[in-house]
């Protein structure tokens, strides 16, 4: 019973955080693009005279979309049309369950893992959720009975499937290095340091090439610029062309959720998750020998903050990329996926394997 309550509480915290983050994300995106483009960005919505740098615009957006007329076009498959956005959001949210966002918290006797669902093969679970998410897009494209939507759906399908492979292979090396598929373990494993304690042994250090592949493929997974072909506005408007109101809002939300998801994954896999450099459960162990003991609650707090910060930083980076680059063309995208990322990822795995064989602990 208590376990269930704790789980519920954890789930509450995670989803509250994630959804808010997604909401905030729309604001951040607007403001960030505004800063990049020498603009001001939304700043006029006010409640009782307060504008909070335009934060309320996101609330207005959400409120409005909830009350917007919902149109199902004639000729569309009503059930699938309604199901598609829910699919998208559901699986995007489900994936968050496996992400550990902080070190284990010790409350009295209990040790609470800061992770909604502790799954042994969490990585597989997350990837599975991400892959299933594509069905939302496909269904949306198919159910809309609109040529543009179909094109968008087709592009999304091909793109996601192609990049999933690179994505999957890119983390194989990581698994080989850390020898676990449990994300919690993976993060903990990244707590080690190398080079005499100077460098934390994060995924980025262990697998730099994999990181680049992962980020690229993950960006493609999330359909963000420069990989926003399924919704390439100036070409085909997007798979959600026939969606209005909150259904469209859900796709909108999914977009941001997936971005956060990918940021969280990248953090977890390559940037040590909630790890803070030189911070061990007992306290800081600086490479120059200094030590600073830290209480467990502070350790957990620092961990959660570190995780959040890293996720936000990735989100920022993704958006910065979005506002910098032009879009790929379909065949270039495929070429990049199959002829670029995929072989490199494979080679990376092989090289990792060889290196591990030569220098690994097991050898």
């Amino acid at each position: 019973m208590e376990d269930l309550l704790i789980k519920l509480a954890l789930a509450g915290i995670v989803y509250f955080g994630v959804l808010n983050l997604a909401g905030l994300h729309t604001w951040v995106e607007r403001k960030q693009s505004a800063l990049i483009q020498d603009r001001i960005g939304a700043n006029r919505a006010s409640i009782f005279g307060f504008t909070f740098l335009g934060l309320f615009h996101s609330i207005a957006d959400a409120l409005k979309m909830f009350t917007k007329e919902d149109i199902v076009p004639t000729g569309a498959n009503r059930v699938l049309h309604t199901l598609a956005p829910m699919f998208s959001v559901f699986f995007a949210l489900a994936a968050f369950a496996a992400i550990p966002f902080g070190p284990a918290l010790e409350v009295g006797e209990r040790t609470i893992e800061l992770q909604v669902a502790k799954i042994d093969v969490a990585l597989l679970y997350v990837f599975a959720m991400l892959s299933v998410g594509v069905y939302g897009v496909i269904l949306a494209g198919f159910a809309s009975s609109n040529n543009y939507a179909i094109l968008g759906g087709l592009r999304a399908t091909a793109q996601m499937i192609s990049y999933e492979i690179a994505l999957g292979i890119s983390v194989v090396g990581l698994l080989m290095v850390y020898e676990t598929m449990d994300l919690g373990e993976l993060v903990r494993a990244q707590g080690q340091t190398i080079a005499g304690g100077w460098i934390p042994f994060w995924g980025i250090v262990a697998q730099p090439v994999a990181f680049i592949i992962f980020v690229t493929a993950a960006l493609a997974e999330t359909k963000r610029t420069p990989f926003d072909l399924p919704e390439g506005e100036s070409e085909i408007i997007g798979y959600f062309v026939e969606y209005s109101g909150m259904k469209f809002g859900m796709f909108f939300l999914t977009d941001f959720l997936e971005t956060i998801m990918v940021a969280a994954l990248a953090t977890t896999l390559f940037f040590g998750g909630w790890q803070v450099p030189y911070l061990q459960p007992e306290g800081f162990h600086f490479p120059w020998g200094a030590e600073l003991p830290v209480a467990n609650w502070l350790y957990v707090l620092l961990g959660v903050m570190s995780f959040t910060f890293k996720v936000l930083a990735f989100c920022w980076l993704f958006m910065q990329v979005r506002w910098t680059l032009p879009r790929f063309r379909y065949d270039q995208l495929m070429k990049l996926g199959w002829k670029g990322l995929f072989p490199i990822a494979v080679i990376n795995v092989v090289v990792t394997a060889v290196l591990l064989l030569l220098f690994g602990e097991g050898s």
Partner: protein, 166 residues
């Protein structure tokens, strides 16, 4: 005023507030006015400040139809169809004199003001209107949206020419 109606009124007002500051526009750009539309949307005037920064190129997702530029007889059916495709609640802004009244293109090819085929909420005259005029029109639209929710009804339709059959 009963408790309930007070609540619904408040809710309605909140909704009005939300709609006022979340304007997804469908820019139906055809002509010269598009240049000033760009200027309005870009850094110097930044229409995003008003919450109208997202141009949605699907009418389903748009709240406000910006009709920017001359509408010809050849184009009119397309415009009408897009207006029909938009989801409620929706508003229409006539941007530039060609859309307001037909402007000085009084000839066989042009429609004499889009209000002959659609209901128009705000007219922004000018050829093309300066971005300031556009922002002013946008604020007038925001006022209208808020008023609509405060008073509970859309302001009475403004007098306009008979709608032509399309």
């Amino acid at each position: 005023m009963t408790e309930k109606s007070f609540l619904t009124t408040k809710l309605d007002e909140a909704l009005g507030w939300a709609r006022k500051f979340s304007i997804f526009q469908y820019p139906f750009v055809t002509a010269c006015c598009g240049m000033e539309y760009m200027a309005t949307a870009c850094s110097h005037y930044d229409v995003d400040r008003f919450g109208a920064g997202f141009p949605r190129f699907s009418p389903r997702q748009a709240d406000v139809l910006f009709v920017v530029g001359t509408i010809s007889h050849k184009m009119a059916p397309v415009l009408k169809r897009i207006h029909d495709q938009m989801a409620e609640p929706k508003w229409v802004i006539a941007f530039g004199v060609c859309t307001c009244t037909g402007g000085f293109y009084d000839n066989y090819a042009t429609v004499k003001g889009i209000d002959t085929i659609l209901p128009v909420d705000v007219y922004i005259p000018g050829c093309p209107p300066r971005p300031e005029m556009v922002l002013d029109g946008l604020m007038k639209l925001q006022d209208k949206i808020a008023t609509e929710h405060r008073t509970g009804e859309r302001p009475a339709p403004e007098p306009r020419p008979d709608i032509l059959e399309v």
